[in-house]
């Protein structure tokens, strides 16, 4: 069985890729998917630690993260549809009317 830190390392890499996706992409939907990728990276770390410590709490956490993520996706995508309807674009750089 692979050591714990292999999994954690993989999780870090996944997280960084998701983070870069958020920072570099301008398509709101891709940004959203990158966020999901970051969630997954965190989930992977949870599961690995859960196995390491033989403790169910980590798995439970993943379960809740999933449900909350599902809720977040539903609202987020609805927002995106609304924004697209008014602005005809999902480029996040166009959404800057709250600028101070």
């Amino acid at each position: 069985m692979a050591p714990l830190y292999y999994y954690i390392g993989l999780s870090v890499i996944m997280f960084t890729i998701g983070m870069l996706g958020v920072l570099l992409r301008r398509n709101a939907i891709v940004i959203f998917m990158s966020l999901e990728l970051m969630f997954n990276a965190a989930n992977l770390a949870f599961i690995a630690f859960s196995r390491h410590y033989q403790n169910m709490n980590g798995q439970m956490f993943v379960f809740f993260v999933m449900t909350v993520a599902a809720a977040e996706v539903a609202v987020g995508l609805a927002l995106m549809v609304t924004i697209f309807r008014t602005r005809r674009s999902i480029d996040v750089d166009q959404i800057n009317s709250m600028k101070g």
């Binding site: 958020v22 920072l23 996040v92 800057n96 009317s97 101070g100």
Partner: protein
């Protein structure tokens, strides 16, 4: 001496209701008054006040059986270290006497007001304010009850401020009316500001009390007072005297009361004649042991009262507004009471307070009835002239002032009931035996004859002027020929107005029976609270002189004003009448000595200091912040990804910290 049981007599447990009945009425009117209309509003307010009166009567009956003072604990209010101020109710003969006066006279005035305000709100063109009036009225009764039932100076101060607030609200009830549309608002403001000066005195007196005695409870303070240093007591009592001059309209702070007549007439009767302005007298009587310990302070109180009595009586002689005369008369009579309590004749002061509440409330309410009659007569004239006339502003009906006595005359035939009750009240005020005013004033004079003959002379002179202006007013208003068409068309007021007047007239007539020479009913009653004093004996020569002075004044009034006249007959006295008429130029003097320098300082502070100095500092700070925020504002560029980048900067910093730890 004091026994502090929760409930010695079941009636005493009811004492919080003297405060809470008005509160219930107030809340009901606030919530439902607008929807349910005037009848409901008026009934609720009258019932609230009446219920408080019933409770007061029950308390009085309870006290008649057990006259010792009782403290009914209600609520722990403040506790700071060793200091405690609780909301307790004090039931003793003094407070119950005040409760009876406040709620009894208050209820009669409430009944009167239900009808009077009905006409007044229509005359002034805003019927929606009917409810507001009774809400304020209930609030006033509530605050006054807190004042008189308090068991410590702090709670008394709560009531003291509460009645001051109600006074302000009610003087400015028609705040958009009056001279230049701000006259009433200015009058209310004046009352408020002048009262604050007095309140400042009371407040500092309380601070000193706390510093000297560590408590504000009546029992604790008054028990410790005789043993305290005389200097401290002198400071406390003189500061209290400042409070008294403010609330009870004595020299030098009396100037607000005449202006307070801008309020509707029931307000003048209830607040500015019968109850609130007597709070100062009550305060001195309540603090009797403290005043007894410092004769100097007593003398000061006595002189302030006596001089005020004479001073205000002379001014009353020179006024033409029916309510202004009564206002100065109130100041003068309050001077009598203050002089009495200053002489240590607390019972005489309280006695005069009670009888004065009867006859002065009666006079004000009758004056209101006269004003209503005049307004009615005037409107009738207009209706005859050019259809239906609209009256938007008060005091602007074809130039005729319905309160000016020079526009009246001959109302005796038009308003017979009002005339009769007014006559009773006037004679009581003038001190004609056997009406109530005669006996109460006589007691004060007896006390004066014991303490100081100059004061006695001053008071007798004041009594003479009192009778004189009373005679003048009676002649001007009710006798002779009608001087305006409005007076010719004046009509008698309806029963809701005249019935309270008749009740008050009966009280004013027989009120003297409370403390008839020989029976000393009030004396024995108040003895339980104020301690035994010398009962005022009936000195026949003195009473004869007083009666003679009163009759002489009345006769002089009749003699001068019995014939029709073009010019004011008293103007023949020249500068003297001008001084009376212009109120001894007190307002002008205050304006020159206090208001103008104050405005000058204010202008300097507002202009050079505030606009010049402070604003430079404040604006400089603003400019600085704006410049700084300009630099940082670059970060707020509106791009979500930049914000995300900043979040990541934070995350990476935390990771770096963890890595390099």
């Amino acid at each position: 001496m004091l026994f502090q049981e929760t409930i010695a007599n079941p009636a005493f447990g009811l004492v919080p209701w003297v405060v809470f009945f008005p509160l219930v009425g107030l809340v009901l009117n606030l919530l439902f008054g607008r929807r349910l209309g005037e009848v409901f509003t008026g009934t609720v307010a009258v019932l609230a006040s009446g219920a408080a009166f019933v409770v007061s009567v029950l308390l009085a009956l309870g006290l008649a059986a057990h006259p010792e003072p009782v403290v009914v604990p209600f609520l722990e209010w403040l506790r700071i270290g060793d200091f405690a101020a609780n909301w307790d109710f004090r039931v003793d003969t003094l407070s119950v006497t005040m409760m009876l006066v406040v709620s009894g006279v208050g209820t009669l005035i409430h009944i009167y007001a239900t009808r009077y305000m009905h006409a007044d709100v229509r005359h002034n063109g805003d019927p929606g304010r009917y409810r507001r009036f009774f809400v304020y009225f209930s609030l006033f009764i509530l605050a006054m009850m807190i004042l008189v039932t308090a068991n410590n100076y702090l709670m008394l101060f709560v009531g003291w401020e509460g009645v001051g607030l109600c006074s302000y609200l009610l003087i400015g009830f028609w705040f958009e009316k009056g001279e230049d549309g701000i006259g009433n608002a200015k009058a209310a403001k004046k009352a408020f500001v002048v009262n604050r000066i007095g309140d400042f005195g009371l407040l500092v007196a309380m601070f000193t009390m706390f510093w000297a005695f560590g408590s504000l409870d009546f029992d604790a303070v008054l028990a410790a007072a005789p043993a305290a240093a005389p200097g401290v007591l002198l400071v406390i009592t003189l500061l209290m005297l400042l409070g008294v001059t403010g609330k009870s309209a004595q020299i030098p702070l009396f100037v607000w009361l005449p202006d307070a007549m801008a309020g509707p007439t029931p307000v003048s009767a209830l607040i500015h004649a019968a109850t609130m302005v007597t709070a100062g007298v009550y305060l001195v009587a309540r603090s009797a042991p403290m005043f007894n310990a410092v004769p100097a302070a007593q003398a000061a109180v006595m002189w302030v009262g006596a001089i005020t009595a004479l001073f205000a009586a002379t001014i009353a002689l020179g006024q033409n507004d029916i309510k202004k005369v009564l206002a100065y008369s109130t100041i003068s009579q309050l001077g009598f009471m203050v002089a009495a309590v200053g002489m240590g004749a607390y019972v005489a002061g309280m006695f005069h307070l009670i009888t004065h509440a009867f006859f002065k409330a009666l006079l004000f309410l009758s004056a209101g009835s006269v004003i209503l009659g005049m307004e009615h007569g005037e409107e009738a004239g207009h209706a005859k002239g050019h259809g239906h006339a609209e009256h938007a502003d008060q005091g602007d009906h074809g130039g005729l002032d319905p309160q000016d006595m020079r526009n009246m005359g001959g109302l005796r035939r038009r308003m017979p009931v009002t005339f009769l009750v007014y006559l009773v009240g006037s004679l009581a005020l003038a001190g004609v035996a056997p009406l109530s005013g005669f006996f109460s004033k006589d007691e004060i004079l007896v006390a004066a004859s014991r303490s100081n003959f100059i004061v006695l002379g001053v008071l007798l002179l004041a009594a003479f002027f009192t009778a004189f202006y009373v005679g003048r007013q009676l002649m001007l208003v009710f006798f002779g020929r009608e001087r305006t068409p409005a007076a010719e068309r004046a009509v008698e007021s309806p029963a809701l107005i005249t019935v309270p007047l008749i009740v008050l007239a009966l009280l004013a007539a027989v009120g003297g029976a409370l403390n008839l020479p020989g029976s000393h009913l009030l004396e024995t009653w108040l003895e339980h609270t104020l301690g035994a004093g010398e009962p005022a004996e009936f000195i026949l020569p003195l009473a004869g002189v007083a009666l003679g002075v009163a009759l002489l004044g009345l006769f002089l009034g009749w003699l001068i004003y019995r014939r029709p006249f073009q010019r004011e007959p008293l103007e023949r006295t020249g500068p003297l009448f001008r001084a009376f008429n212009r109120k001894w130029w007190v307002d002008e003097a205050y304006h020159a000595l206090v208001v103008r320098p104050y405005n000058g300082i204010s202008r300097f502070l507002a202009g050079d200091f505030d606009m010049g100095f402070i604003d430079t500092v404040a604006n400089g700070a603003g400019v600085l912040v704006r410049r700084l925020s300009g630099w940082w504002g670059v970060l707020q560029n509106g791009f979500v990804r930049t914000y995300a980048l900043m979040v990541v900067v934070g995350v990476v910093s935390i990771m770096l910290y963890l890595a390099l730890r």
